[in-house]
């Protein structure tokens, strides 16, 4: 009787301990590696004061450090390869890669690194970070929504969506700003999916 009771207590203790360990582990920030297939960087710009057109970058890489319970803001370290710019028009893509715009001969990527964050409400953050484009680094603030998290302790996926605006002339991309051929302000929407996999 005593032996059975003792065994039960030990088992219960082990289970509680495991659960507690799991609880404390879930509170730790984990590093999610960006999945380029399910991540998108979109930009929108006003052309000649008339239509607004959209483009995207197809090659996104980096990491998001974040605890799954969202107790701490996601920390972004993102790199976008500018040579992957895609507007659906090959000639326009060539112009955007040229010296007047992204100057891909000299600058391979645009990067963003979080520096601070402020919670707006559950699952929503205002994340400030340093954005580097054309060799110029400026602070940028983005509104970020945690779009979901799924998985277990071994394999997991999480998603975030961010939107913000920049003035491209702040980074030295001045073409068409003065004469209104293209707007200075550019709206950015970034959809990210990151994953944790075994062995990482």
């Amino acid at each position: 009787m005593y032996r059975s009771l003792l065994t039960g207590i030990v088992v219960l203790g082990v289970l509680c301990g495991t659960a507690a360990m799991q609880e404390s582990k879930s509170l730790q920030a984990e590093v999610f590696k960006i999945d380029p297939v399910h991540s998108t960087v979109l930009f929108r710009i006003h052309h000649a004061g008339a239509g607004r057109f959209w483009g995207r970058f197809n090659d996104v890489a980096g990491t998001v450090t974040w605890p799954r319970d969202d107790s701490v803001a996601p920390n972004f370290d993102i790199r976008v390869v500018v040579n992957s710019v895609d507007t659906g028009n090959e000639r326009l893509d060539g112009t955007l890669k040229g010296p007047d715009f992204f100057n891909t001969r000299e600058f391979e990527d645009v990067s963003f690194k979080s520096t601070s964050a402020e919670r707006i409400r559950d699952g929503h953050w205002k994340v400030t970070g340093d954005m580097t484009m054309l060799g110029v680094t400026k602070p940028v603030t983005a509104e970020v929504e945690v779009t979901g998290v799924r998985g277990n302790q071994v394999v997991a996926k999480a998603g975030w969506e961010a939107w913000f605006e920049i003035n491209r002339s702040d980074f030295g991309m001045d073409w068409g700003v003065e004469n209104g051929a293209l707007s200075d302000d550019v709206k950015m929407i970034v959809g990210l999916e990151g994953g944790i996999e075994p062995g990482r």
Binding site: A48, N89, R91, L92, G94, T95, L96, K97, G98, P99, D100, N103, R105, E106, L134, G135, V136, G172, D174, W175, G176, E178, N179, G180, A181
Partner: protein, 281 residues
């Protein structure tokens, strides 16, 4: 694009045209030959530099982007052109020194990606020397006509390659050469031999713009097209050798102009499909 052309071609070319008109008509065409040449140098250099300023603005130092050195080179080549305009007609050694200075300056001011400094220096200095000597040996309208065609071809190639600012710069130089031809014709009447000068500046600026556009081109425009666009000047040098060099008058000017125009026209015709695609956007 129309607004950009107005700002980056229309305004600098109008300013250059006014300068030419004032100096040639008000002060008297040909009264001071050095002034006639200096005005052409300022008009061509100002068209290129003014076009860059209208598109990009004043670049800082050190350069935020390497290709912004094209503006500094336009300034350096213009200064060299002003010195050359003062040189005696037969001072070839002085012109060689100026061309070498342009080559050295380009190594420092225009460190283009994926281009060796030696290539940039040789092409910029060599082109300036070639066109400068051709201009001073020949005079007349032939070099501005060749410059008009070569700059127009480089402008078209640059827009195909996706370099808008460089295309507008070359377009401004082309339009300025056109104005030099027209205003020189009216100002000088039938005596067009006086429309000279600016050759060193023209050769240097065209080489620098073409080299820069080539450096940032992802093989959209074949490499030979950039070289052939400006090769009319080299071909025209053949007409300066031996008895052909003493051939003067309108027939000589027409033949020389045709020799200089043909290569850039060939390039544009050969690349016509790409040109149509670029201009339709």
């Amino acid at each position: 694009m129309v607004e950009s052309m107005l700002w980056s071609v229309g305004i600098p070319v109008t300013a250059g045209g006014l300068l030419l008109a004032v100096c040639w008509w008000v002060l008297g065409f040909g009264r001071w030959p050095w002034m006639t040449r200096i005005v052409v140098v300022l008009a061509i250099g100002g068209a290129a530099g003014g076009s860059f300023l209208a598109s990009v603005g004043l670049p800082g130092w050190p350069l935020a982007q390497k290709w912004h050195g094209v503006f500094l080179m336009a300034g350096a080549v213009t200064v060299a052109g002003l010195i050359e305009a003062m040189c005696p007609r037969r001072d070839w050694a002085g012109r060689v020194v100026l061309a070498m200075a342009i080559g050295v300056a380009s190594v420092w001011l225009l460190p283009l990606p994926e281009q060796s400094a030696l290539t940039v220096g040789w092409v910029a200095g060599g082109s300036a020397l070639l066109v400068g000597m051709l201009d001073r040996a020949r005079g007349g309208l032939a070099v501005p006509v060749g410059g008009w065609a070569a700059a127009a071809a480089i402008s078209v190639m640059a827009i195909v390659a996706g370099s808008m600012t460089l295309s507008l710069m070359a377009g401004a130089v082309s339009a300025m050469c056109g104005l030099v031809i027209v205003l020189g014709w009216f100002a000088g009447g039938r005596v067009t031999e006086g429309v000279s000068g600016g050759g060193l500046t023209l050769g240097g600026i065209l080489a620098v713009i073409a080299l820069t556009a080539w450096a940032y081109d992802y093989n959209v425009v074949p490499g030979w097209a950039w070289a052939v666009s400006g090769s009319g000047f080299a071909l025209a040098c053949i007409l300066e050798i031996g008895p052909l060099g003493r051939w003067k008058g309108y027939p000589a000017t027409v033949v020389r102009s045709i020799v200089m125009i043909s290569p850039p026209v060939y390039v544009v015709v050969h690349e016509w499909d790409a040109v149509k695609g670029a201009l339709s956007g």
